[in-house]
Symmetry: C2
Subunit: 363 residues, 2 copies
């Protein structure tokens, strides 16, 4: 079976699973409107589409601009082209008890659908249904994430081998982006290259500052290949770090590895964050770990689940998540170490990030 | 005054104008949460920020990841770093009658703000306030849009001079993207290069199909430079077009030019669409113009106002909009011609698109 046939089969199964959830929740139907969920469920990547899934309903809707695109149909779905006002048209297609993607739909769209929908319409926040399906990666998705990770790791290896000192952060970031594109991918987000004091900013933008010798450099990058993202961070040193930097680096790696050793289906996302945070707190840097432990990765580089102190979810088997603790000391230095992993029944099933976490000195 | 001082000054004025609108609407305050509106009003380009603007209030809020970014303050604004749950924190900072950006805020966020906000909280859809401000471009913005247009036009000129026949659509699109980046810009959207039968799809993705001699080719591209976008489309022919293609081309250009001649502040967006559509309808192709006439362009490549049959707005002085009629005949050919213009009091103030609309044959 060809990979594209594989993908089509996966999509039909995904729509079937969504229909099961719709029945379980006693919704009339689910209205899917976010482009990324539409891509996940149908393969359509245009800018305007909607999918209505009920017990006996599988309706894909788009507008006349995409007439050609859907001319050959989409497997397993009825297709309708809506002329005229899009939201009024959609409102005319939904029943009175319709689930909506509340994490995507704006207040303005909800208001208009409610206004033009059938009498007594209830729009029921149900975005977690599709988000839940998207969390559990199937074999085709896992393969694509592995390929995207491999590409990003290869580019990171090349860039480190060429040395960092003497180049600007922006130059290095540009090289990373260019190499990912050369290999047929896209960056899954603008790469972060943050050296010296800039490394203390978790979301630093690559600057025109020249990277000097003896500095920590955070490199946070990912590739997007055939729709799927990767995400990985390493912190390296352009020359021997001082004792303080060495200590901070060791704590972050310990935090990362301790969290990895506790990662498994059934573990609470907040509990796992607490495991990583505990290592950093006990070392006296608790107030310097200023973000959550990680996030899901798939068609989007940030998706469900979120791993942080206020998460209420548990990890599921086949979640793909980042584990990325960090310590940031303003004006001085920052260290972040991030792996991308596939969650298994009783531990990490696959760690997609292949670079060593031993303290690395580069040129 | 340096350009960056110019931009800071513009931003302070924008926030003042928003405060005037908040008073006029008798809101307690406006809560601004969309990244593009935040960038417009404050210059902040991080992933997480909010702005609360009331009669005596100018509060910018972000999270600890951006502590360094805001360390030097933002001119004219009080700055607060929110620890802990972001939405609960925001809910604690807003009053009982708060305007929200309903065209951006999701149902999920609204629900959570309402749950954690002060007793009797009303969240009032008011996104049109910021959208209205963003429509009216100030001199700094007009200059940036002009520069982005100039860059895209230059790249289009180079690509046409090199000839299209014998190359794939994807190859030509790749060259366009590469040249825009070489010049320090980014594409404002993935360029469209659609030749022969593919030109009949208004949103065609550049394919691996080789462009042949004697075909229409739609090239739709824009650059983003320093935050601001451009957008322009030309349809050219790789050799002499037949009578039918020549006729269709002439009708689209006439539609474009007729609409341009009627473009002015005070004209209804639906009425202008009707002017352009009328030309195409009278020529017998009414059902082949399958999209609206145009859209606003600024920090986003698609922003307010929308120019289409169902628009309820009027053009304002200093709106920047596209005028882009098209005719698409499935299986045969498509033609679209798009200019980007600054709306003046009594006509087009500036047409940013410099390429000729005479029928052009290229190699």
């Amino acid at each position: 079976m060809s990979p594209s046939a594989d993908r089509r089969g996966s999509r039909t199964e995904r729509v079937d699973r969504l229909a099961d959830l719709v029945i379980e929740r006693e919704l009339g139907a689910m209205l899917v409107t976010s482009p990324v969920s539409i891509e996940y469920l149908t393969g359509f990547t245009g800018t305007n589409g909607a999918l209505i899934v009920g017990e006996d309903r599988r309706l894909f809707v788009t507008d006349p601009r995409y007439r050609e695109w859907v001319a050959d149909g989409i497997e397993g779905l009825e297709v309708e082209i809506l002329q005229g006002d899009w939201l009024k048209g959609l409102a005319g297609l939904i029943g009175s008890k319709t689930g909506i993607e509340d994490g995507f739909m704006t207040v303005r769209v909800e208001t208009k659908l409610a206004e033009h929908g059938p009498a007594g319409i209830e729009l029921i926040p149900s975005g977690e249904l599709v988000e839940g399906l998207r969390r559990v990666k199937d074999p085709v998705e896992i393969e694509l994430i592995a390929e995207a990770s491999k590409l990003a790791d290869q580019v990171l290896g090349e860039v480190l081998a060429e040395g960092l000192a003497g180049r600007t952060e922006a130059e290095v970031a540009g090289v990373i982006t260019g190499r990912i594109r050369q290999e047929g991918g896209e960056p899954s987000f603008p790469p972060i290259v943050a050296a010296g004091p800039n490394s203390a900013s978790p979301h630093a933008e690559p600057s025109a500052r020249v990277i000097e010798a003896g500095e920590p450099v955070i490199l946070d990058l990912g590739a997007k290949l055939d729709g799927y993202c990767s995400d990985c961070t390493r912190t390296v040193f352009t020359g021997p770090p001082d004792d303080r930097a060495r200590e901070v680096y060791g704590i972050v790696v310990e935090s990362n590895e301790t969290a990895l050793s506790e990662t498994a289906a059934g573990v609470g996302c907040a509990a796992l964050d607490e495991v990583a945070r505990g290592v950093i707190e006990r070392a006296g840097f608790g107030d310097r770990f200023v973000h959550g432990l990680g996030h899901g990765v798939g068609l989007e580089v940030h998706e469900e689940p979120r791993l942080g102190p206020r998460s209420s979810e548990q990890l599921l088997e086949r979640d793909v998540v980042t584990i990325e603790p960090g310590i940031y000391i303003p004006g001085e230095l920052g260290v972040r170490v991030e792996d991308l992993v596939l969650v298994g029944e009783s531990g990490v099933e696959t760690n997609f990030s292949s670079h060593s976490k031993d303290l690395l000195e580069v040129g």
